[in-house]
């Protein structure tokens, strides 16, 4: 895969089962910075420890011997220098960690976004949107927190502990050893509580989601609520969930409000034991007063941060689980868009041949069975058949959303698998019955997918061609009108015509139309039909049709039944042989007769 400016590393390579190693690999290119952050952290922690050692000298060499000369200024200068060093490196550490965390997250987001849009269509047809989105958003946020807070936080606590422990060892080994007696207990207690806190928190969050759903249901069902005058009942139901959330919150708080005092007591006991040992040693002259003062300042830094270790360790496990969920997406293989060895120099002709093409989504379940037909450039091919008979599957093979499981499709005499997908798709225009529109302006929706600068004139021409220009001008903001959730809602017919305008600008050689009757009025249907006919000229066109009227002029009609072509030919040819086509035609003629009868029957 070629590197691009949005992510410089292929994160789908070298995936590993080990989540921690996996997270380290995500950091590729940033590892030196991260190491820098940790070194800066160590320097800052050492400087802080240094501050207290300077303080010790201040007491022992200045205050106690009452030696207030130039030495005092020197030591105070040293003190401020240490503070400066500590401040600078604390900042450098935080700054580097932020660069690493935000940089890796940005790259991961870009990579995942691109990865998702380049996964084969077959993957998306199966996947659940909500699940993909939650992995792409909340799981990536969790990975970000792992780098930004948790990993660096654990590093900080351990470094601070080690450095201060060594410093106290220097002061006096006995002080050091008596100060860590309770540390295992502190870590154990915090692990114990936080694993419970995180469970209680999950329950609380789940209830939050339930409550939101309750609210949303009430808001979206407001007409039902009002129609049955059920406001009181709704309040009662909401209150139950609301109260349940309150109870869960109370439970969460009981655990938390127990943890802090209990850990306070353990830490406090350790602190006092250290104070006592130090004070007695100072009293006996084993250590100086300055040493004692430095010691009581340092010992704080090896005891209190330990309380947070449990929380951070519990939280990293969520970061790891999230990484695993992201990695599962990364494992999926992308669809190679540029793979292929053939691309014509001039324009594509549009001659298409299907030879014994079969397709199955799952082995053993044929959706297309040995489909054979051929068409000349510019021909109109109509696909007729019931839902699920294989029409949509067939047109999905043309842009290579899927590849046939057996058989061969050729375009201008060349196997279509030899064309790069990107080229192939640039030559195919699809107009669906109710196309997906993006929540941006109408103008952007029309030019979406046109890979060149498009002038205003061209856009207007395309819209006029698609018979949608007048509709657009009726909106207060015209072509700048937003479509979708935060903008106007377009009808099915209007969406379809926007897709036609889009296809006009794209100017493809091959056209795929879904001509199902959507719920539009007669006049609109006429407009759409006219626009489609103009669009079909000079392009090889596949029409998915449901009615005879829309296929009668086709050069080739394929009648589908259960994945097979049961009949093919022109309207005239098919009308002369008995078979499904004739049956369909007869039914539709009968319908017209019945309609006449019905209308004239009204007055009898």
């Amino acid at each position: 895969m070629s590197a691009n400016t949005y992510y410089d590393v292929d994160l789908s390579q070298n995936l590993t089962k080990n989540r921690f190693i996996g997270l380290m690999r995500v950091m590729k290119g940033y590892r030196v910075l991260y190491l820098g952050a940790i070194i800066a952290l160590a320097i800052a922690a050492t400087a802080r420890t240094g501050i207290y050692l300077v303080l010790r000298r201040f007491i022992d060499e200045i205050v106690v011997p009452r030696n207030f000369g130039s030495d005092m200024i020197l030591i105070i200068g040293l003190y401020i220098g240490m503070a400066l060093l500590q401040g600078t490196f604390t900042f450098i550490s935080g700054w580097l960690a932020a660069r690493v965390a935000e940089g890796t997250t940005r790259r991961l987001r870009n990579f995942l976004y691109d990865h998702l849009q380049r996964l084969p269509y077959a993957y998306h047809a199966e996947a659940k949107t909500g699940d993909l989105i939650s992995r792409a958003t909340s799981d990536i946020d969790a990975v970000n927190r792992f780098f930004a807070d948790q990993a660096i936080g654990i590093g900080r606590i351990i470094l601070i502990f080690v450095i201060n422990f060594i410093a106290i060892m220097q002061l006096h080994p006995r002080l050091a050893w008596t100060s860590v007696i309770a540390i295992p207990a502190i870590i154990a207690v915090s692990l114990f509580f936080f694993s419970r806190v995180s469970k209680a928190y999950e329950a609380y969050q789940e209830q939050e989601a339930t409550l939101s759903n309750r609210l949303q249901e009430n808001l979206t069902g407001v007409r039902v609520v009002k129609a049955f005058a059920r406001q009181g009942y709704e309040s009662y139901k909401f209150d139950q969930e609301n109260w349940h959330k309150f109870s869960l919150g109370r439970r969460l708080l009981s655990i938390e409000s127990l943890f802090w005092p209990i850990s306070d007591i353990i830490c406090g006991a350790q602190l006092l034991a250290s104070y006592f040992t130090g004070a007695i040693m100072a009293l006996n002259g084993e250590i100086t007063v300055g040493t004692y003062m430095a010691f009581i300042a340092l010992v704080i830094w090896i005891i209190w941060p330990m309380r947070n270790l449990g929380r951070l360790i519990v939280q990293t496990s969520t970061g790891m689980v999230s990484y695993k969920r992201v990695a599962e997406l990364l494992e999926e293989k992308r669809e190679p868009l540029l793979e292929g060895d053939y691309q014509p120099d001039g324009d594509l002709g549009g001659e298409i041949v299907f030879k014994d093409v079969s397709f199955e989504y799952e082995p053993g379940q044929l959706v297309l069975n040995k489909v054979n037909f051929s068409c000349s450039p510019g021909a109109v091919i109509a696909l007729l058949g019931s839902t699920g008979s294989g029409k949509t599957t067939l047109v999905n093979l043309l842009p290579r959303f899927y590849d046939p499981t057996a058989g061969l499709i050729t375009l201008d005499g060349v196997d279509i698998t030899r064309y790069p997908r990107k080229y192939l798709r640039s030559q195919i225009g699809i107009v669906e019955q109710e196309p997906f529109l993006f929540s941006r302006s109408i103008r952007e929706n029309i030019t979406y997918g046109v890979h060149r600068q498009v002038s205003e004139e061209e856009i207007v021409q395309a819209a006029q061609f698609a018979a949608i220009h007048d509709v657009i001008l009726e909106f207060p903001k015209g072509y700048d009108t937003l479509v979708g959730e935060r903008g106007v809602t377009l009808s099915g017919g209007q969406k379809q015509r926007l897709a036609i305008a889009r296809a006009v600008l794209k100017n493809p050689r091959i056209l795929i139309l879904d001509d199902s009757t959507s719920s539009v009025d007669t006049e609109t249907e006429m407009h759409i039909r006219a626009a489609l006919e103009r669009l079909m000229q000079t392009r090889t066109t596949f029409i998915i049709a449901h009615r005879i009227q829309s296929v009668m002029d086709a050069d080739l009609i394929l009648v589908f039944d259960r994945g097979e072509i049961v009949q093919l030919g022109t309207h005239q040819q098919l009308m002369q042989t008995s078979g499904m086509y004739q049956d369909i035609f007869n039914i539709q003629t009968r319908i017209e007769l019945e309609l006449e009868k019905e209308i004239s029957g009204v007055n009898i």
């Binding site: 935080g94 004692y292 309609l595």
Partner: protein, 600 residues
Amino acid sequence: MSTFDEFEEKDYGKLSTPILRRLLLLLKPHWRWVAGFLLSIALVSVIDAYTTYLSSQIIDEGIRAGSRDAIVRIILIYGGVMLFQALLSFSFIYLTGVLGERVRYDMRKQMFNHLQSLSLSYFSKTPVGWIMARLTSDTERLAELITWGLLDITWAIVNIATAAVFMFIINANLAVIVLAMLPFLAIVAYQFRIRILYHYRLSRKMNSKITGAFNEGITGVRVIKALSREDANLAEFSELTDGMYNASYRAAWLSALFLPTVQLISAFVLGFVLWRGGLQVEIGMITVGGIQAFVSYVTFIMWPIQDMARVYAQMQNAVASAERIFHLIDTEPVVKNRARTITAETLSGDIRFEDVHFHYESDDPVIKGLTFHVNQGDTVALVGPTGGGKTTIVNLLCRFYEPTSGAIYLNNIDYLDMKLEDIQSRIGMVLQTPHLFSGSISENIRYGRLNATDEDIEDAAKMAGAHDFIMTFEKGYQQDVGEGGNLLSVGQKQLISIARAILAQPELFIMDEATSSVDTLTETLIQRGMEQLMTGRTSFVIAHRLSTIKRANKIIVIEDGQIHEMGTHRELINLKGKYYNLYTRQFRQELEAQYDVFTQ
């Protein structure tokens, strides 16, 4: 579109007296809890400052004075004080936390109940997401401010005050130096906080845009692939992640700069204190322990200062949240009972619309002068293109909206004189996209009449033709319907909503027929269920099915807010106008579906 601007959220609000008053009112019912946690945190804060003082006493009275007894005594006092403080910690965490939950509960309850009283027009112009944000993130922010925010501020103020007292006890001169730096420290801390918060909020906004982009990229993947839009999409997406990167990176490095800066300022002050203090030891003004105490006070005074800065910065956001919440609570329902109402015994009787007009915006009329008369027991079919005003007519009839001019008479009474509850509790409604609530089938049917017995529910389901498919479920009537009824098919949802309407025994029945096709069997069942509901009741149907339309006593063709044609099926067919076109089109479509031309 400009109409959405009012839903843009500002994140800055000024604390005014009325808002403060209302915030305090929220706490008033729980004043004992508030008093409890404020007292606890104040004591915790005093003890914090006191233990620092005790440490210095160990040095002066113990080590320096050479008294082992003093050391033991002070350590014991220290231990006792710490135990007491642990107890207080428990009390303030529990009290504050639970109070916070309680305030959240209260506010959500108040807002939800108020929402129930608001008119339909409020919901049609307010996005669901906007309302939901009031009950979630805004509530969260507000509750946080008036509980933990209040706690932090109290802790900070008491902490600084107590530390100041102890510092003055130890040495007044040095205390003045330390206190003089506080305003400066506070300003620096506040400036940092407000910027960090700004970038943080910016990153949250970018985050929701990124979620939106993922959503669109995934749901629109087919179009993206067909148009080979991948490269352009990635370029656009990377603009979002760049924005996100910039915002969160700035927030992070500002945070990284913040503490060291504050620490450095205190280090300079401390250096000054040491210098002055050293000189004062010489003249016996301060002890070694005293210097140690000052080192601690100055080192730790940045915490309360930075807490105050944080809460102050967050307060502006929370006040903006409070303004939005109060705005919601203060919204008056547009449709409500008049001062004097008539108690209507029944709605049965003729219905008259007299020159009814309706508009949301005065320059954009939706209904333009409707006049018609419906006899008791008749069925009215409303037909016409989407957006023509059919749904609005039904909403007017239910008094979800009220006419902007003209009048609607139910049983010869102007319905504005009736009680809303009297009207709405007597109407049965089946919607086009049937809305079910999560829960069991039985619960959903019971929605029609809350005190109905299980037999009543089964009877209603039988009449609606829903009983048979319900019994095919493993749990029968106790089967879960899923969120919004998603585990059922559209046809099944429709049948259940018909059963729900039957159970309600309405006097007026309104149906918005589904456009989407369901299988023939279900269709027949739905038709029968509707017949059950229509017999003997005045009914309004927004009709799409020919059989429904033909059965109606009166067909009204609505287009562009006006009546274009009105009459019986026969009269309108003979007109050969709009109805004729509509009917022939529909006839073809239905027959095609009926013959199911492809699967013979």
